[in-house]
Every structure is written in C-alpha cells, then in structure tokens.
Amino acid sequence: MSEVVIAGVGQTPVGEHWEISLRSLAVSAIRAARADAGGLQPDAMFIGNMLASTLSHQSNLGSLLADHAGLRGIEATTVEAGGASGGSAAHLAYQAVASGMVDVALVVGVEKMTDQVGPEVEAALAQMLDYDYEAVQGISMTSQAALLMQRYMHLYEAPRQGFAGFPMTAHANAVHNPNAFYRRALSLETYARGEMVSEPVSLYDAAPYVDGAAALVLTRSELVPQDLSHGLVRITGSSIVTDALALHDRPDPLAFKAAGFSVERACRQAGILPQDVDLFELFDAYSIYAVLSLEAAGFAPRGEGWRLSENGGLSLQDKLPISTMGGLKARGNPVGATGVYQLVEAALQLRGQAGPNQVANARRALVQSLGGPASTAATHVLEAWR
C-alpha cells in the first residue's frame, strides 16, 4: 500500500528576527526542507499561519510564498486554526497526498510576531478565542490559561510547584537544540521565584512568542528519490477535531475533549494505542495545557496529569518523553508555525537525527498542536519507516 511519507524537513532558529521578513523566514525553511527531500518538485503548498494579516499586514500568503520560494504558479493556500494552524496545514497536505490529488506537498508554518509590541501581540492572539463573548471582555490567552490552572489547582488540590516539571523538562531539552530560543536549564528555585503574568500562571508557565518558520515535504512512498541520505518517516495517523470555541460553552472546561478525541482518531487510524508511542510532542503553550493534554490523551487519570512530571518523569530517558527539543516553552512558540516545528522535531527523532536529545529507539511519535484551549486539536502519529 502507498504510504504518505515525510521526505524532507527544514526549520529556522526561532527568535526575535527583527531583520528577517515573513517571506524570508518562510523561504529559508522551504529551501531547507526541499534540499532535505532530494529535489522533489512540490505541486502544492499548505501554509500554517495565524497572524500575518494582523501583525504584518499581509494576507494571501499562498501567492507570496510560492512566488518567493521559486514555485510561482503552484497551488498554495493558508490554513488558519490559531495555534493549531501548523498541524492543520499538515493534515490538509496529508489528505491531498494520500488521496492522490497531489504528488508532492509542501507544508510551511511561518509566524512573524516581534514586529509589534506586547499589547498588540496579545490582542492579536486573543482572536483565537471567541471574540464576541470572551476576547471582548478583555480576556487574553494567558489570563484564560490562568483561569484553567486556578480551577485545576482548586479541584484537584494540585500545588503550584507541581507544574514546575513541565517547563523544567522543556528547558532541559532545549539546551542542546540549536534552533531553540531559551537554551538554558530552569531550576526549581527559579521556577518558584517566577514573576506572575496572570496568577497562577508565572513567567515560567507561559511559552514565549517568537518568530520562526518550519517546513515539511510530503509525498507518497513510491515517489521518494532513491538516493536520500536520511531515513523516512511515514504519517500513519492524522486528525483534526474541534470543540466549542468559548470555554463557557463546554460542560467540563478542564476536559480538553477535542485534544482527547483527536488523539483517539489519529491512533485508531494508525492502529495503535497512545501508550504505544515513544515520545509525545505536546502543546505546552502553558504548563496547564501540557497537563490537560496528557490527561485528555489518556496518559494519566483526570486530576493526576501534573504528577507525571514529578522527578523528571517525562524526560528524554523516561517512558514518555515530551517536548524533546524544548517544546513551546523553551524552543519558543511561533504560533502558526509551531505545529510544523513539532512535526519536524518528531521526524528528526524518528530518523535518529536528534543529536544529544535523541530518544533511544524512537519508532513512533505522537504530535499535537492546539488552537486556543483545545478548541481545535490537530494530531499526528508518525512512524519511522526505513
């Protein structure tokens, strides 16, 4: 049977790229992925991006990026689903290639955030929420995450320190990722001293917003050039699930139901259980998101997810490594590009090219990006192939 494979990956370092434009960032990642894919000629490009029209005054990225990547004329469109934009673009590219409509698809995630000051960026990100009922009241992504974390701590009597393991794991893993933003470890003492952004979410519970671009080349197994120097990774599961946009429209806001269903569907398609994966690139935009995602995927009972990170329980050597290249927290969160970074990193793990961060014998990875508090969840199962 024909498989959909990741033939090439590319990424730029994330950071404050004040001197690099949106198009240049994207083109760097595209070039790297195409070179990695041994010169496959893309027929279509799926772009994950959320904020270009607000922060860069630029829409119609399909035409812009196809042109500047030297691919003028190909099919190219933007896929927007908040923080799940990158994962969603990958899902649509997967469908296109799997269906046979497209032979070679580029997936590009790109986000340029630092050309605007903090309050502008916060306001733009709040568009991920229900504008008429949530954002208009002044809630931001971070203050909403704070409500979730507060509720969780109250309901399950989880201490604030209990969340420390998530950013500490992410920071420890970012040290050896040359593309990460915060390449330094985080101690428990530093976490405890963290300045509150929106109580109980501290500076260390919230991923930094940065610029970045990452890209994948997808094709079917029979079209892969024979002389590729690296291993191949196949996509065995791919799903997008949505939930009510507004948190107040959900009977159980701490359930992250879309995240759970999305994992279930992707795993069912792949013929595996979530417990069969060797690593989980989860969406740790906030520590509480990481906890709720782990619970939604079934890795811990409700109210127990925070305990998974105790004593380094999610580190590279452990049973379920997360955020293996730093995650959103320490690699950085270039919102619409993040889902593609996660896929690139998981692919490198499965190709055995994760350097000092290599998860031993990694054969299967679960990758999930979230738009808002799991209002949209895009999940992929990747497997090492040959």
Binding site: E16, W18, T114, V117, G118
Partner: protein
Amino acid sequence: MDSPSSPKNTPDLLRPSRPVGIVGYGAYVPRYRVLGSEIAKVWTGKESGSPVKEKSVPGLDEDVATMSIEAARNALARARIDPSELRAVWVGSESHPYAVKPTSTIVAEAIGAVPHTQAADWQFACKAGTEAMVAAIGLVGSGMARYTLAIGMDTAQGRPGDALEYTAGAGGAAFVLGPAEESLAVIEATYSYVTDTPDFWRRQEQKYPEHGQRFTGEPAYFKHISEAGRFMLDATQTSAADYKYAVFHQPNPKFPERVAASLGFSKEQIQVGLLVPYIGNTYAGAAIIGLTAVLDIAEPGDRILVVSYGSGAGSDAFAIRVTDAVLERRDLALKTQEYIARRTPIDYATYVRFRGKLAMK
C-alpha cells in the same frame, strides 16, 4: 564604472580639511533629584526595581533654552573667546520648548552671539547634540568659521508609569569648536552610522514618547552603537587599549556596560563618563555630558572614544585626544561632578508638579 552617486562599500572616516578641536566645554544639570525608589513606590508599591539611583529634574523655570544657556556660558568661560566670534549656535534636543521657533536664537541672543551667526535646532532623539557637533566641526574644519557652538540638552519626557520614567532625566553639555591649535582636546575623526529604525518616537502634539519595547535593544541601540564604535576602532587602527576613557550613550547603566565590554573596554574606562545612575538619561545630553566629566579629570595626551546613540536610529562616534590646554581651562567653570553633587531631593508629587504631569484642563 561607478557613477559619482553610487554608494561606497568602504566609507571613510570624517576628517576636516584643517584640524579642529574642542576649545571650550560646559555642562549643566538642574539641581532637583527624584529617587528611583520614590518612582517605584508610586507605580509598583515596592521601592526596588529602578535601574538608577536617582534622576535629575528641571525646576519650574527651567527648560532646554535656559539650560542650554547655562552650559553655553560654561563653555565660553573655558574657551575664553568673545561670543560674537561664534558663527554657529546649534542646539540639539528632543524637548525644544517650541515646535516652531528656534531654541538656538534664544541661546544665541542670551550669550551675545547674534546677529552674525548661523542658528538652528537639531532633532535626532538622543544624538541631536552629537549631530550638531559633527556639523560644527565641519564648519570650522572647512574654514567657513573660526568658532562654532554645539549643544545637546534635554528635559526628557517619561510617560508616568512607563519603564522610561525611571531614567528620563534633564541636563546636557555645550562645546565650542575651533582650530585644533587653540583646543583643549583635538577631534581626530568622527564617523556616523544611520538607518531608518523606528525604536522610539514622539509625534507632533504628543506629550510623551512611545517605544518598541525589546526592539529598542538589539536591533536599535546595540546594532548602531556597536557598528559605529567598531568602525571607528578599525578605521583608526586602534583598539580599546589605546583609549584612556570611553563614553557611550547611556539610557540606563546596563546598555553602555554591555556595549563597552563587546568593544573591549573595561568598566574602569567607562566609569568616569557613566553618569546615568546619578542624573538619569539626559537624552541628547547623555553621551556628551559624560564627555565633560571625563575632560574635567583627563590628562594631556589621553585619548577618549565617544559614541552617541539616537533612536530612529543612528550613532556618532568621535575619537578625541586631550591637549595640554585642558589643565589651565577646566577650572574656569563649574565641573560636572559639582553639578551632580549640588542636589535637592524632591518627592514624586513635587516632581509631577515641576514636570507639568498633572492635567489641569
């Protein structure tokens, strides 16, 4: 073949046709001080967190015109020239009292430099004063004028509660430029590095400036000041070790320390000219009032590197060599440290009143 207007890949240092130097210099700092802890207390409830110990505050009857006159008189006292010999009076500031009407004519009139003189105001955020100096050097260096006066002076505006309110200070310096043979310090070369980088700005009619937060650091201050400083060192084939002192624009204590280290200068080399912890950031006055503090104690033969930075953005670098004349002239006016020591602390409420921060209508 290159046309005459095509850009040069390797620029030259700016050097006048005939040697130019500083004939006289003068500083001015208003006497009022508000403690950083006092500002922090009002806005955060705690006394910690201010990047500076205190900052200078102009009195109710002071503005850039009056303060420029004070500094100009000090510079003239050291220059020992007749003010009517000045062929330019140029004032650089981002707090000119008038949007339309020159500060420089007020200054020129008050010091007795009118009417046979150039007079105009310069505007380039914190490097308006050094830009005026480069032009003043050019006027003397070309032989068009024997003496010119360049001033950088500010009563900086900090929006209440903004991070910049802790540092927005008041003060500056004036320099009489003239023939090198009469000077107390010779200008060996200047070099400027400019791009359109909007990191900090205030539009017409706006009371307080805005800034691009973290954008003000790496792509703005550090890039321009490092490029200008590095080019000056390379083009003059000097290194940090060749200079006794260095002065960098000082919006806070950390930035100049970092750029100094990156160019190879020690903390000792920048110590004398680093005044921001005691008077705050005097904007167009900041780098050059640091230079006056250095000239107050420098020895003949000492070399000084000065690099300003103005938002918007650009940096002017000066390589300066002190002459014997400094010894007999520096005592002819009040020294910069004497101005800093002459202080009257005020509370936040008084500061708010002095700075007109209470809206009356």
